[in-house]
Subunit: 645 residues, 2 copies
């Protein structure tokens, strides 16, 4: 008797991508299971860089706090060159004139804040001071936070545990079939995917089989993805020749920038230093063939790659600074950079692959874990709405559309960046080498990728750019810009991202403008229009199913002076709670907030609606005169509520 | 057979004061017990205001986060008067010219940030954005946070639980005796206090007796303190005639300032609105005799004070705004304001009283719970050091010295403030009434008390003002000023308060100045001098007992440009960890930090040492040429380490 079971979503793989998926589905109340073939999670090493955008996303699930508390924050990027012939091009150079630097001629440091400022003219937003924790302000400041992958996984696993869910492990899938029945595939209530699982039992016992019938399957099973191979998707791209070693340890060195993200590019080799939580650092070290190859087979000889060997390589690169034998080594490994993207991300919109299963790239730009978690952040709310019967199954097509293009762009960038990093520096002896200027330009231009805020989804069923002109600086298809507003009722400054949780709801930001009596009339009429049974706000919502499963959250944002506005004057349909009425003004200290209408290019004499998707990306914008275009937008993927007889 | 036991410290009473004491002692590794006569803690109501200084203190124990997250933050104080004859004196008045306020003539609002800015010229410090959480920056912004006393108690109880400690309850003490033997009293290892405890058992069973022999006892058993009465201490002060009702509920009203701290002072009565966590608010309502008195006995008739009655009173005060019948009432009560201070806070420096046991005052200035927790914050580290044999038992005399004066000052302020608040407003009919100007002046002048940052301990064994001139703006006897510095090693901005945890250690801030070669020589010679066996840093420290029990923590702070300083140039005795080397410069964004030397009045060409006590108060300051005066300071209350033979 083989056990058989049914589940709405089966997630295969409990790395960051699978766990993010599980967490999103658990929050949405979806029936799912998550399995993994390893008996326990990753103990040490692996990915470690968390981008600003990923922090925003984690915060939108209420999960960013431990990372901000325990992770290493990177405030400085330092580029150090061992060649004296470099010209230093930045205007912010440490002149090294101080008496504190006996080796100044060797040491060039170029300072810039970790992250490129975001495209808007916004000042650094400083929400953290008031709001206890906001994530969005971070992206103007940090390049990234680093923390062990195991800590990230633990974060998700603890969150799942608090929701009564655990990873089933060790379980190995052994077959996967998708129904060919077109009608079955179009019916979101059907279970067209059949997966056979082997429950691994202690030592010599034969595994116990189980047949799972799933509505959907997510394959988040890593670079060697069994799901991908089973579906027959190819990985397109190339393997490079660059070989890198990586080591996590507590350093003992006189190198003064050991606690900064630092690229050392010397003729003896290259090294990237990544400060880690606590006293740890990570080195990425360029290895030569003789260091790692088996001369007979021509393949990497993993036995040759020991911590001692890696520290020896570091020692040469760091010379004349010293690197002493470390007392404690956490983890070390070696890899050859490969940049590849899967040919497809979805089979019949019933089985999806995500994370390393569909894209692999070099770890140095800190992309891997971030792209992986963002894949399933994109997929989670779509699965939830389809499973609830609120959205058409065609919504799922936007997953591949949005994430495959992003993966390809990322890999193109990564290929260029890795080549620069792995190349020898340009010197008088080597005029073909990589110049400091080339490196700097590439590094700085990479801000959109290294911060994660550059993600820009193209027009689709869920990205409608028709009325972009109503708010030219809120780019439709990008994530909503961070901005501090003031709550009218209690004058507390709030970061708008903190009002955009990943709760499967669409957020309707209603910029109600400067509340003259004329404008109040306009706002009132819009509120009435949106109360009509034909309006999207009524047709697609499901009030009987409670707030957690409602489809929309409305946030009115006034212009003007907070002292002149009474929150009770906002029409009740736009004022669902006293804490949701905001104003674009400074807080009581005059230091936070204000200027958003101007910055976004929104006319305070009009009423402008901004639709933010459940994943935080701007889906569409419309003036109050174009309610029908919002109706059309939602009509293209949402299903009209059927009143129960 | 009566059970007998021994304990270093017995804490009687598990309200905020007793729990703060327990938490401080648990953190210090002290052997103690905490008992309470109630079977469970406070369920609702009671004190609710948390001052900025209290947030700093809680944060120094790592406990402030939940409050910042869940508490209501007060950004606006609004003073509303129902009389049209008031002159509005502030220059920041809401002119009420907007079309949104049909009742503008009735409504006067005066805006000012919740809290008086602290005395220094410091800009708002905005550490929160980087440091995940810092408390000190808050005090320039919030008047206070409000949250239920039960939440505060739960915070401490959870923290104690994680350290393996629970409150023993219900236990009622029945006798207390202190030895009269002078020699025994002077020996910190003796157990001169004998307390008999009755363990209360279910229903009809007679209580079980226990005799506890304690080195020290802390009576934190509330306004009707059994410990205080047993010691025979009197409560000096007076009972006022003002009767107030208090009610916690979720309001339903059209009053627009319901979410702000708001004083309504109308001829129909006075009301203070305190926004609370979630949707709750608290009203303090002035009651008339007929509302609450039993006409026969002339005493308060508690049966008359119902939620309905209190809402009726509110309704009159709020007119013409409406207050509808609330759906949910959390708690209500009534009290007569009394301002009293105990005649003594300590018996033979072996039994101490703290919190409401030694001072009672009106709740409206939000002082009670704060003063109570700060009493035992002051006492905790002193008990720990005496019990460890590190400090002379005479150190404990500074508890009464410091806290009794503070309690008296507080009560003098409270008396004045309450009278103003309870008085009728001045109108043309009542020229003797309280003018708006009087009220405003008193309210604003109260910043030192209402923020808690005004606490100023007078010179004593642990407050030495000799070298105040070395840093004129760091007031010796007050808490260390908040200030953002930058960590040299990784350019991360840090708030100095986050480096001053309440861990029983003295913090030595060494302002090493601008690191020219001459200055480096000076710093090096000071480091050498402090390494001599005769130096306080050696004589009083106990390195063999591990870092947690060490006596000093050293934080060097350089002046100048972060790009010119290598943290490795600070002499090793001053550089105990890479994260402790700071510089008075701005962070990479140029927005945080810098200017501290100038603000504090410290000469960057000298070396200046600031001694911060374990409770965060500045104990002394000295130039590098006066190491002997620091030796003398510590010599007056610390005990020289005896090398074990």
């Amino acid at each position: 008797m083989v056990k058989e079971s049914r589940v709405d979503v089966l997630i295969i793989g409990a790395g960051p991508s699978g766990l993010m998926c599980a967490n999103a589905l658990a929050g949405a109340g979806v029936d799912f299971r998550i399995i993994d073939n390893r008996p326990i999670g990753v103990p040490a090493g692996q990915a470690d860089g968390i981008q600003p955008r990923t922090i925003e996303v984690l915060q939108s699930y209420g999960l960013a706090e431990p990372l901000l508390k325990d992770g290493a924050q990177m405030h400085l990027c330092v580029r150090t060159s061992a060649s004296r012939s470099f010209h230093i091009l930045s205007s912010n150079i440490d002149t090294c004139a101080g008496i504190l630097q006996p080796r100044t001629q060797w040491r060039h440091r170029t300072y810039w804040p970790g992250c490129r400022r975001n495209g808007s003219n916004s000042p650094l937003s400083i929400q953290g001071m008031f709001c206890y924790l906001a994530s969005s302000y971070l992206l103007n400041v940090f390049l990234q936070i680093t923390i062990a992958q195991s800590t990230i996984e633990a974060l998700f696993i603890d969150s799942l545990k608090s929701q009564g869910v655990a990873v089933d492990r060790p379980i190995v899938p052994s077959s996967l079939e998708i129904s060919e029945d077109a009608e079955e595939l179009l019916n979101p209530s059907s279970y067209p995917v059949k997966v056979v699982l082997d429950h691994m039992l202690p030592s010599d016992t034969a595994p116990e089989q189980e047949i799972v019938h799933a509505k959907f399957v997510v394959g988040a099973d890593g670079a060697h993805s069994w799901v991908r191979k089973t579906l027959g998707f190819s990985m397109d791209g190339e393997q490079s020749d660059y070989i890198w070693g990586v080591i996590d340890f507590i350093p003992d060195t006189d190198f003064p920038d050991i606690r900064n993200r630092c690229a050392i590019h010397s003729s003896n080799g290259s090294c990237m230093i990544i400060p880690r939580e606590g006293d740890k650092v990570r080195f990425y070290l360029q290895m030569s063939d003789k260091d790692v190859m088996d001369p007979v087979t021509g393949r990497i000889d993993k036995a040759k790659v020991t911590a001692e060997r890696l520290i020896d390589v570091a020692r040469k690169t760091f010379y004349p600074y010293t690197v002493n034998e470390p007392k404690e080594v956490d983890w070390c490994s070696i890899y050859i950079i490969g940049q590849r993207v899967a040919s497809k991300f979805s089979a019949k919109d019933r089985v999806f692959i995500a994370g390393d299963a569909c894209h692999t790239h070099s770890p140095k730009a800190g992309q891997g874990m971030n792209a992986s978690m963002n894949d399933t952040h994109n997929l989670g709310w779509k699965l939830a709405q389809v499973l609830r019967g609120r959205a058409d199954i065609s919504l799922l097509k936007t997953y591949e559309l949005e994430r495959q293009k992003y993966a390809q762009d990322l890999i193109d960038f990564d290929r260029e960046f890795s080549a620069l990093f792995s190349g020898k520096p340009r010197t008088s002896d080597n005029e073909e080498g990589v110049s400091h200027e080339q490196f700097l330009t590439a590094f700085q231009a990479s801000g959109g990728f290294s911060s994660g805020i550059g993600v820009h989804y193209m027009p689709s069923a869920i990205v409608d750019t028709t009325h972009q002109a109503c708010a030219p600086s809120i780019i439709i298809g990008q994530r909503m810009l961070p901005q501090i507003f003031v709550r009218v009722a209690d004058a507390r400054p709030v970061e708008i991202h903190d009002m955009l949780p990943s709760d499967t709801r669409f957020k309707l930001l209603v910029f109600v403008g400067l509340l003259t009596s004329e404008q109040l009339g306009k706002v009132g009429r819009l509120a009435e229009e949106l109360q009509l049974p034909t309006s999207f706000l009524q047709k697609y919502d499901h009030p009987a199913e409670g707030k957690a499963q409602s489809m929309f959250d409305i946030i009115p944002i006034a212009a003007g002076n907070k002292d002149d506005v009474n929150y009770l004057d906002i029409p009740p349909p736009f004022r669902t709670h006293w804490s949701k009425v905001l104003i674009d003004d400074t807080d009581v200290t005059g230091r936070l907030g204000g200027g958003a209408y101007e910055r976004f290019g929104i006319d305070p004499k009009e009423v402008t609606m901004v639709v933010v998707r459940p994943d935080g990306y701007v889906g569409m914008i419309a003036p109050s005169t174009a309610v029908e275009s919002i109706d059309k937008y939602f009509g293209s993927f949402l299903i009209v509520r059927q009143e129960k007889p």
